[in-house]
């Protein structure tokens, strides 16, 4: 596995000649392509083929039939349409073509004969010549092939057999056969090992990358600990964990034993208001707590905060993996309309049946929990620790959902990928078991990650304009989870993943006993072949899977305007005028509450090392508990109402508490206050607002009306066309302005491109913003007329960055090309100044602030400890 960005850049330059080397000697490839029209991956071989086959196109693809040749290799079932364009020899290999399906993602093979339908298993025999071959896939696709009368019968039978025999691993561990088929050849290995890594996103594989995240979030008081570098403390945790600064590694080591699987509280994210999000597994109760331990445990749990810790219990309300699996299989049955069990749901009962799958309930439940946590974090200056017994399923889900809700960065493609890396891949979600590629571990199988994607999709569908990524991206990610090829999903924890790569490079000798520790079904079972394992690519290497056209759909044509950093002025004002909070937080130091079922409580046994007494840690806790109890009694009626929605509304709508109204800056009347980008996106969870992810769940449906008419690719959606038109106009304008050299009218300055921007690699804040949120690869952005100075890199083409470098530019030009927004802001009298941002609509109002004075997040150094930054207007 590649680490470090330096090598990455070297590799990038090497790629072209690598490609040549890889492709030129493959005479076999060229020959096979001539014969069959199939472009094999290097080292892939065709097991069987059938000619004159027609593929039924799904409604999404436009319906109808497509004639061509069907192949079965030992990696995939491939279909090559008759009149498909000649594949480009020089293109990088794409694992799966448009009409291909990986054998490993096939769930069921059904042969349809003249009078009968048969489910074909590896051991079954066909007594008829199939006319139709239906492949049900695990990713909810259904692929249907029709054999022509002219197809030789033997071919039809043979290919059916071949597929049926090869799609399912006969014994555990055989999944490697697929990997070897796809990636095992020397050329492919070389190609893969030289793939450059996406430098934009954060992989969370090295210490630096964690540091980068800490910096991005402005999290102070935390450090990256390497205590688990050799996975000695906890096998499922990553090498690097973020722990409070004030806990020494030696102290830290003593805490591992107190948590299930040694998954101690670790930092995940910091809310701009200064709350930290932590994750941990449940406490080990049967352990004696020494006094020193107790102190350390408290330190670790409270993190950088002293005052308040809320433990959010993810065990009780959340669906168990088994629930999820059941719901998902029901949903599958409903959506797929499986031939073999022939249960069709009448249209007028569809919604009721959907309800009875409970899938939407579970989605809602996760979103609700995440919304609760997001609201809590928003309160500022507390530690919120998500606790789950193993901290490997719902912990991943909720913490990443919270971040999608709260952090605009996580709604970009890079940000989201980083988030999945951080919260799922690195922190040890058991992808391998949950996805159950081997199909030997059915008990463990559960679509937890899919549930997460669905939750994100729900958010996306409610707030489409707040996301840079699109549902296409989510769907592609969903598809990839069903392909047992990616390192990201082929291991249960980081250790397994590391072990694999280190085998490959032959530099690592396993520590004694490790093999035994590995869970059953782990990669080690296939040990004889370990040394020749192909290097598994990461799922984020999208170019391996998709061509440019599909990749371009991963992000919105018109990206949301990147967030502007919260105005520090308001921030400070609010902070300093609020000493009460600090005093209070001093007194009630160390109180711990449990958030469960939408309400707080402080059970005595919450922290096992604290003996009795509500808050425990001193008198302050007791006071807090008393306050809690009193107020709790006072408002019993609200309990009976559904929890989160009220909470959500509370955060959105409550009147300001009396004491604070005076201190907050005056509100702006009917024009409304600026939208705060760090306000959590709180989804509405009511029945009418929860929707089915049709593009995902219903795409396998073969009958016609499952889909509305697909918008064909040559007939772009009006919005896309509009975006393109803007782009073209910009180009024309650039041309025009180039020709008419000295047009110094005021009109011309409006559309003048932002002046070139020089990268300052040392300025961390700016770098962060460049790498992350501020860079939206939009067609519009690229369409900006490029200023003459060639130094302007991609970031300069982005109108949003004009603010960042506005120190160099006059105010007139800083009203970049966003004529629309400036027009809109003209009749927005109170909108002057930096406090006004429009996130949703158009480019932001330009502000002439010095970039370095605008931190992306609240820099904690400036804040007195214990104060809460608040976002006023």
């Amino acid at each position: 596995m590649l680490t470090g960005s330096k090598t990455t850049f070297k590799v990038r330059q090497m790629v072209p000649d690598m490609k040549e080397r890889m492709l030129s000697p493959s005479g076999l490839n060229a020959r096979s392509r001539d014969m069959f029209g199939l472009r094999c991956l290097p080292g892939e071989c065709v097991l069987q083929r059938a000619v004159l086959v027609r593929k039924k196109l799904t409604a999404r693809e436009g319906g109808g039939w497509l004639a061509g040749t069907l192949f079965c290799t030992h990696f995939r079932v491939s279909f090559v349409p008759q009149d498909s364009p000649k594949p480009d020899d020089n293109a990088d290999p794409v694992l799966l073509g448009e009409h291909d399906v990986a054998l490993a993602s096939i769930e069921k093979v059904v042969a349809v004969g003249p009078s009968r339908t048969k489910l074909v298993t590896p051991n079954s025999s066909l007594k008829f010549t199939p006319e139709e071959l239906v492949l049900y896939c695990r990713d909810l696709r259904v692929i249907c092939f029709l054999f022509d009368r002219l197809t030789p019968d033997t071919q039809a039978v043979e290919i059916t057999y071949t597929i049926a025999k090869t799609y399912q691993p006969l014994k555990p561990g055989c999944v490697l056969a697929f990997q070897n088929a796809a990636l095992g050849s020397v050329e492919m290995k070389q190609f893969l090992s030289n793939r450059r890594r996406d430098g934009q996103m954060n992989w969370f594989e090295s210490e630096d990358e964690w540091e980068r995240e800490l910096e991005r979030c402005g999290a102070k008081g935390w450090r990256v600990s390497t205590v688990n570098d050799r996975f000695e403390m906890s096998t499922s945790l990553p090498r690097y964990n973020v722990v409070p600064q004030r806990v020494l590694d030696t102290e830290l080591k003593r805490t591992f034993a107190h948590f299930n699987e040694g998954r101690i509280p670790r930092w995940s994210w910091r809310h701009p208001r200064g709350s930290d999000l932590l994750r941990m597994s449940s406490f080990q109760n049967n352990i004696y707590h020494e006094k020193d331990d107790t102190r350390n445990l408290e330190l670790v749990l409270f993190g950088s905060q002293w005052s308040l810790c809320v433990v959010v219990d993810l065990g009780e309300e959340m669906p168990s993996p088994a629930d999820l699996q059941l719901a998902h299989s029901r949903l599958r049955a409903l959506c797929l309309g499986d031939i073999s069990n022939s249960v069709t749901v009448p249209d007028d009962k569809w919604l009721s049946t959907l309800e009875s799958t409970h899938w939407l309930d579970y989605t809602r439940c996760c979103l609700r929990k995440a919304g609760e946590v997001a609201c809590l974090l928003r309160g500022g200056h507390m530690t919120v620790a998500l606790q789950e017994s193993e901290d490997r399923d719902m912990g991943c889900l909720v913490s990443s959902l919270v971040q999608v809700m709260c952090d605009p960065h996580c709604r970009t493609q890079e940000g989201f990928q980083g988030l999945v890396q951080k919260e799922w891949v690195m922190s040890g979600h058991r992808f391998y078991s949950r996805l159950n590629y081997h199909r030997d571990n059915d008990k463990e199988e559960a679509p937890v990650f899919l549930l997460f994607l669905d939750c994100v999709w729900q958010l996306w569908s409610q707030f489409p304009s707040r996301f840079q990524l699109t549902d296409h991206f989510l769907l592609a990610l969903y598809d990839s989870t069903h392909l047992p090829l990616f390192s990201s999903f082929l291991a249960n924890c980081h250790r397994e993943r590391c072990k694999r790569t280190q085998h490959l490079t032959q530099t690592y000798t396993p520590v004694n006993g490790w093999r035994d520790v590995l869970p059953r079904g782990g990669l080690s079972l296939s040990s004889p072949t370990d040394s020749v394992d192909p290097p598994l690519p990461s799922v984020w290497d999208w170019a391996l899977q998709y061509g440019g056209r599909r990749l371009s759909r991963f992000t919105q044509p018109v990206p949301p305007t990147p967030p502007t950093p919260p105005p520090p002025v308001v921030l400070n004002g609010n902070l300093n005028t609020n000493p009460d909070i600090r005093r209070m937080s001093d007194t009630v130091q160390g109180s711990v509450f449990l958030l469960s079922r939408g309400s707080f409580s402080s059970p005595t046994n919450l922290l096992p090392w604290r003996g009795g007494g509500g808050g425990g840690g001193g008198g302050g806790g007791g006071v807090a508990a008393a306050v809690y109890k009193r107020s709790h009694r006072r408002a019993p009626s609200s309990e009976s109402l559904s929890g989160l929605e009220r909470l959500l509304k509370a955060t959105a709508l409550t009147d300001a508490p009396q004491g604070l109204t005076s201190t907050s800056t005056s509100t702006t009347g009917p024009q409304g206050s600026p939208l705060d980008h760090y306000e959590p996106l709180l989804p509405l969870l009511l029945g009418p607002c929860m929707r089915v992810w049709k593009e995902c769940y219903l795409r396998g449906v073969l009958h016609a009306q499952a889909f509305s008419h697909p918008v064909s690719s040559n007939h772009a959606h009006p919005v896309v066309r509009l975006a393109l038109e803007v782009q073209q106009l910009h180009e024309q304008l650039a041309l025009a302005s180039a020709s008419s050299s000295n047009s110094s009218s005021t009109a011309s300055t409006i559309n003048k491109p932002p002046p070139p921007r020089h990268r300052r690699p040392d300025a961390n804040l700016n770098q962060n913003t460049n790498n992350g949120t501020f860079l939206f690869p939009a067609p519009r952005a690229q369409a900006r007329p490029v200023p003459p100075a060639p130094t302007s890199s991609s970031s300069s083409s982005n109108p949003k960055t004009s603010r960042v470098n506005s120190s160099a530019s006059s105010s007139s030009s800083s009203a970049s090309s966003s004529s629309s927004s400036s027009a809109a802001h003209k009749d927005h009298p109170s909108a002057g100044g930096s406090a006004k941002h429009t996130f949703l609509f158009g480019p932001p109002a330009s502000s002439a602030q010095d970039p370095r004075a605008e931190p992306r997040y609240y820099p904690n150094a400036k804040l007195p400890h214990g104060d809460r930054p608040t976002i006023g207007s």
Partner: protein
């Protein structure tokens, strides 16, 4: 702020007390200095009023309310709050006729009285001596109002209560409707042909439509003075073979009326069926029916298919029943109700069957489309009255087939043609007169709008109008101002609009039609009716466009299914013979030649259509499978605050589009300015972004965008009470940030 914290009825509960902020109590004392009256429309007369009426918010926990004056006029119930008008929100989308706190009398659906916690439906004709402690008014546009009269003076309370019940519930005559007094004093200029909306009130409009579609039919003007039959429209079009003598025998029953002609020459007709009993026994009727069928068939030498909608679609009363169940989900009196319904949301949607009726109608319309498009057969749809489901099906089919009807004017013309001129019994179906026997009441027109909405939501860019337009149109049904929805038929209208009426001259003739949107909305609001994504078809001359369309559809037919009936006379006779047989045995069957509806053939048709690239200006077929029928969110959920997505929903995307359009236009101008006009003419013109600016940036949008419903005084209490958070040391963090949102939200 004169919001009152604790409610009268439930003040005993301790939990509410804490929500009263001392300020509010103070403010309560100096209210009611003078009675406030709403600004009256011309012709509006105040009947009675009462001050110190407390109006509740829908939120039931805090039971906060607003004091104000409730006034009952001959047009509406108006609630004027005592709140300082300076706090009035700037609403972009204000209806000029009535405000957000007003209920047009015709819009009142049900009134419930709460007598000591017992709720009772008030109906007309009841003796209403006892004044309920609380009035709950359900509106037809799904708003819910709750008023308490307990703080009023006894006399005032009695008067207003009786006034409300009388004017909202008792039957009245058409002449007493507000439209008449309104129009008397208001002169509306004869609309300038309503931006080319065809009104189908003059012969020319019919001729124009017939010409546009190249129908080979006969325009009938013998009924111009309603000499033939009062049931028939003033003008109509029949197959060219129908002789003059054929027009009258059964008062227009059985007479095929032309609706639409397909470019291939076949056409869609509708008729009001002869009663089954007559058809079975009366040989004259049978002969007549046969003749009419032949006439329809002769119109073009293809087959004819008939469809009796009463057989295959739910009856009008079933439609009403389903809708009554359906609307209850959205008439939210308090939030708890909503949570309760939420648990079983999807299955209850299924249970009431409304969506299924919408689905059936769309499916039927698709069958009609299939016949016209694929088999090129003439279609005759029939039904008892010929003006309910016939209208739904024929207009939906035309909407799918003809891109003209998907423009704003086209759609308005379609409604005029099929519904207004076509004689949909609006007075009865909408119960404009509050008659007690409600058998005739049925939301048939709404059913049509629902169907349009399904199409619109699936193929947004092919419609020139927006969801908001449809929602507003559905609201306007219950505004007794527009002549469009007031009458049962053209004859009915004629009676009231002609000079000999006492309100002469031409009283209601001057009544605005609903298409005159400036009566209700100003220009800025009207811009929300226009879909920014709609692009007009490239402007080719009409003739060539026609031929293009024709050609396009010619090679539509599928392999195997494109079997065209040979226009042989003999073949045709056969069919007529079979018709005869059927007629003799029983009443007409359903599709005579087509296979069972919903069978694989219609699926094939859909699939074949789907296989072709989507043309926003071509044929549209909706998806009606289970997962695809969705709720008309804007209409049904706009008043329910719980489901408003703040800063989200489609509207944000739309406003982004507005922004883009604006940018395009700005760049265009810039380019023109710079590069001269030479190049600019070559480019196709983009529709201008309405108003030159997006409605977006100034306001925070919620998913129920143009319709508000959120006010600053409405408040929700968290399940984690503020006080607790104070105690936690988090210190009101939740509340604090809420403040800004609070204000912002209220704008929308």
């Amino acid at each position: 702020m004169s919001a009152l914290g604790a409610a009268c009825g439930k003040a005993a509960k301790a939990s509410f007390v804490s929500y009263v902020i001392p300020e509010e109590i103070k403010a309560e004392k100096d209210f009611g200095k003078q009675d406030k009256t709403p600004t009256l429309l011309p012709g509006e007369v105040v009947f009675c009023g009462a001050s110190k009426v407390l109006r509740y918010r829908q939120d039931d926990v805090s039971q906060r309310g607003l004091f104000g004056t409730l006034v009952c006029t001959n047009f509406r119930l108006a609630f004027v709050s005592d709140q300082d008008p300076s706090e009035e929100l700037v609403n972009l989308f204000r209806n000029k006729m009535y405000g957000e706190d007003d209920i047009p009398l015709a819009c009142v659906d049900n009134i419930y009285g709460v007598y000591e916690d017992k709720r009772k439906l008030l109906t007309g004709g009841m003796v209403k001596n006892k004044i309920p402690s609380k009035l709950v008014i359900h509106c037809k546009d799904l708003r819910v109002f709750q008023f308490t009269l307990t703080y009023c003076l006894g006399e005032e309370a009695k008067r207003i209560f009786q006034g409300i019940t009388h004017h909202c519930l008792e039957p009245k005559s058409l002449r007493n409707l507000f439209a008449f007094s309104f129009c008397e004093l208001n002169s509306f200029p004869e609309m300038k042909r309503q931006q080319k909306t065809l009104m189908f009130e003059v012969l020319d409009d019919w001729a124009q439509d017939l010409n546009r579609l190249r129908g080979a039919c006969r325009l009938v003007d013998e009924n111009a003075e309603f000499g033939l039959s009062p049931n028939l429209p003033q003008f109509f079009i029949v197959p060219s073979n129908v002789s003059e003598a054929d027009l009258t025998p059964f008062q227009g029953h059985g007479l095929p009326m032309w609706c639409w002609s397909h470019p291939s020459g076949c056409a869609l007709f509708k008729t009001s069926a002869l009663p089954a009993a007559v058809l079975q026994e009366d040989p004259v009727a049978q002969a007549y029916m046969e003749k009419m069928l032949t006439a329809v068939a002769h119109n073009y030498l293809f087959s004819v298919k008939t469809e009796d909608l009463s057989d295959t679609l739910p009856s009008v009363s079933e439609v009403q029943l389903a809708y009554n169940k359906f609307k209850l989900f959205f008439l939210i009196e308090n939030t708890t109700d909503f949570w309760v319904s939420d648990v079983k949301w999807l299955s209850s949607l299924d249970g009431c069957g409304w969506l299924d009726i919408v689905r059936q109608c769309l499916q039927k319309a698709m069958e009609v489309v299939e016949c016209l498009e694929k088999e090129n057969a003439n279609v005759l749809i029939m039904e008892e009255g010929g003006s309910d489901l016939c209208c739904v099906i024929s207009s939906l089919a035309q909407l799918m087939l003809d891109p003209f009807y998907r423009t704003l004017t086209g759609f308005q013309s379609l409604v005029q043609k099929e519904w207004v001129a076509g004689g949909h019994r609006f007075t009865e179906r909408l119960n404009q007169l509050h008659l007690k026997d409600k058998e005739e009441v049925s939301p048939v027109f709404l059913l049509f709008l629902e169907g349009v909405m399904v199409l619109l939501s699936q193929y947004g860019p092919s419609f020139q109008f927006t969801e908001t337009y449809l929602t507003v149109l559905s609201d306007s049904l219950h505004l007794p101002v527009f002549s469009t929805f007031l009458f049962n038929s053209q004859h009915h209208r004629h009676i009231y609009t002609q000079a000999e009426s006492p309100h002469s001259p031409g009283s209601v003739g001057r009544c605005p039609v609903v298409w005159d949107w400036s009566v209700q909305f100003d220009c800025k609001a009207q811009e929300l009716f226009i879909n920014p994504l709609y692009t007009e078809k490239s402007r080719t001359p009409r003739a060539s466009q026609r031929s293009q369309l024709h050609k396009h559809q010619r090679h539509l037919s599928l392999p195997g299914s494109g079997f065209k009936l040979s226009p042989k006379r003999g073949f045709f006779k056969d069919e007529a013979d079979s018709l005869k047989k059927i007629l003799r045995v029983k009443r007409l069957s359903r599709w005579m030649l087509s296979p069972e509806p919903g069978s694989s053939s219609s699926r094939d048709f859909y699939q074949a259509w789907q296989g072709r690239p989507l043309d926003y200006h071509g044929l549209l077929l909706p998806c009606v499978d289970g997962p695809w029928l969705r709720l008309w969110m804007q209409r049904y959920l706009r008043w329910v605050q719980e489901v408003q997505i703040f800063g989200g929903g489609l509207v944000t995307v739309l406003s982004r589009v507005y922004g883009l359009l604006e940018e395009v236009n700005a760049l265009r101008r810039e380019l023109d300015h710079r590069g001269g006009a030479g190049r600019s003419t070559a480019r196709p013109q983009r529709p201008r972004a309405p108003g030159g600016e997006a409605p977006g940036p100034q306001v925070r949008l919620s998913s129920s965008f143009p319709f508000s419903g959120l006010r600053s005084s409405s408040s929700y209490k968290p399940s984690i009470p503020d006080s607790l958070l104070h105690g936690l040391g988090g210190g009101g963090g939740l509340g604090e940030g809420g403040e800004e949102l609070d204000d912002a939200g209220s704008v929308v």
